[in-house]
């Protein structure tokens, strides 16, 4: 039995993927309408109205709320001895808190997947198919707990990749957080230009691919960027240097 707390894009997709793989999935979401929708879509076997009831008897609990909310949920679950993992895009903050808790067995996780949609309706059972799923076990993580979370990632179609939390946050600053900022800035710069802003419809497939991420929910990203501020600042500086190396020379 796996409990998924948060049935948005990622949690909802994971519930669908694990249910499809034959797992028994109990879902929880603070929004009752989302719980009903998940039940009707048969993404979950049940969706009780409280987190505590949802995690009762779970072999693994997956925290799939935004990063800062996952940290609060993790503290709430302390003392029950549960195996807990999460799916947040930044691993430092939650892993630092987990290291201080004695009543929970935590393995950090991050499926590197997503789309520009949001919420349960945008989910897809195949979202994780072929994607990397980073796992960041702690110093006290038991091998069988790590194996159980890796099994879950594989059941969702992903490929588990082991990293330390700081290694994940540094790599993802370049591979995800910086691209997100760049997508926003490209769209913003084009929209603000009097001429380019009038001709956005003439953009080709390259521009559309590069600004697709700009349609992701900003609230979610505020958490991620705040939780990984120093690595993101370093990646921004490295990117600015890479851009200066490429800049066409000034005319003579």
């Amino acid at each position: 039995v796996v409990a998924v707390a948060g049935l948005g894009l990622i949690g909802g997709s994971l519930a669908r993927a694990l249910t499809r793989a034959g797992w028994r999935v109990v879902g929880f979401d603070a929004d009752g309408a989302v719980r009903r929708r998940a039940r009707r879509a048969r993404a979950v076997a049940e969706a009780p109205p409280s987190l505590e009831r949802a995690v009762e008897g779970a072999d693994v609990v997956v925290l799939a709320a935004p990063p800062a909310a996952n940290v609060r949920l993790l503290r709430r679950l302390d003392g029950r001895g549960l195996l807990v993992t999460d799916v947040g895009s930044v691993k430092g903050p939650i892993c630092r808190v987990a290291a201080t808790l004695r009543g929970v067995r935590f393995v950090g996780g991050h499926p590197v997947a997503g789309n520009e949609g949001r919420g349960f309706a945008a989910g897809d059972a195949s979202l994780f198919s072929g994607r990397a799923w980073v796992l960041t076990p702690g110093a006290r993580t038991a091998p069988r707990d790590l194996a159980a979370v890796a099994r879950l990632a594989r059941a969702a179609g992903a490929r588990p990749v082991l990293m330390r939390p700081a290694e994940h946050d540094r790599a993802l600053a370049y591979l995800s957080h910086l691209p997100q900022l760049v997508a926003w800035a490209l769209l913003d710069a084009a929209r603000r230009d009097a001429v380019a802003g009038r001709h956005l419809a003439a953009a080709g497939p390259g521009f559309r691919d590069m600004t697709r991420l700009a349609h992701s929910p900003p609230a979610l990203w505020r958490d991620v960027l705040a939780g990984n501020a120093a690595p993101v600042r370093r990646a921004l500086r490295a990117f600015a240097r890479a851009l200066r190396r490429l800049q066409p020379p000034a005319p003579p």
Copy 2:
């Protein structure tokens, strides 16, 4: 009859698209192996071994070599009274030259389409389908010449959009040339970082979309960026400002 000079990704795709639409297409490429391949693929009805023979009797000539080569081809065709268009990503340089030539009827063009491949083999008859095809007629362009080039764009599946050359170059600096530089810089920054460079395989679909353009042929882009240097520099500055507005604040 349309003559297509240059049977690379864009010229080869255009030859296929117009042949499929029932047009008679005569192709030319400086490389004999490419001419033979285009004939074997039935992308062209014929592919004579000289530009002069290829354009004989053509109602429209499409220059589909790299931008600087197109300018040379345009000068070579001066004096024949032909209707000539091109497919280059920068319109200022070729349109300025065209304005000085009296023996050629030139309408600048730019189908805003492409993929990260190169050469005839990477072409696709549907490459232009649903895309904008910018047309930049000159001050002396006859309405029926403009209409003939617009008909060609529509026959290839595209949507003609009229712009002045400077308007095109300013808009495309934001919508295509800046994204190209950004794609290179994102990939370069990630590769150079000791940790991110080791974990490129863990990148998600967002990073792949945003660096897809980085695999475009650099030689082609040198021409484009050199031909549009000032607008690209302005777009880079506007982008840097947009990025600074987004930067996460320093920690307290």
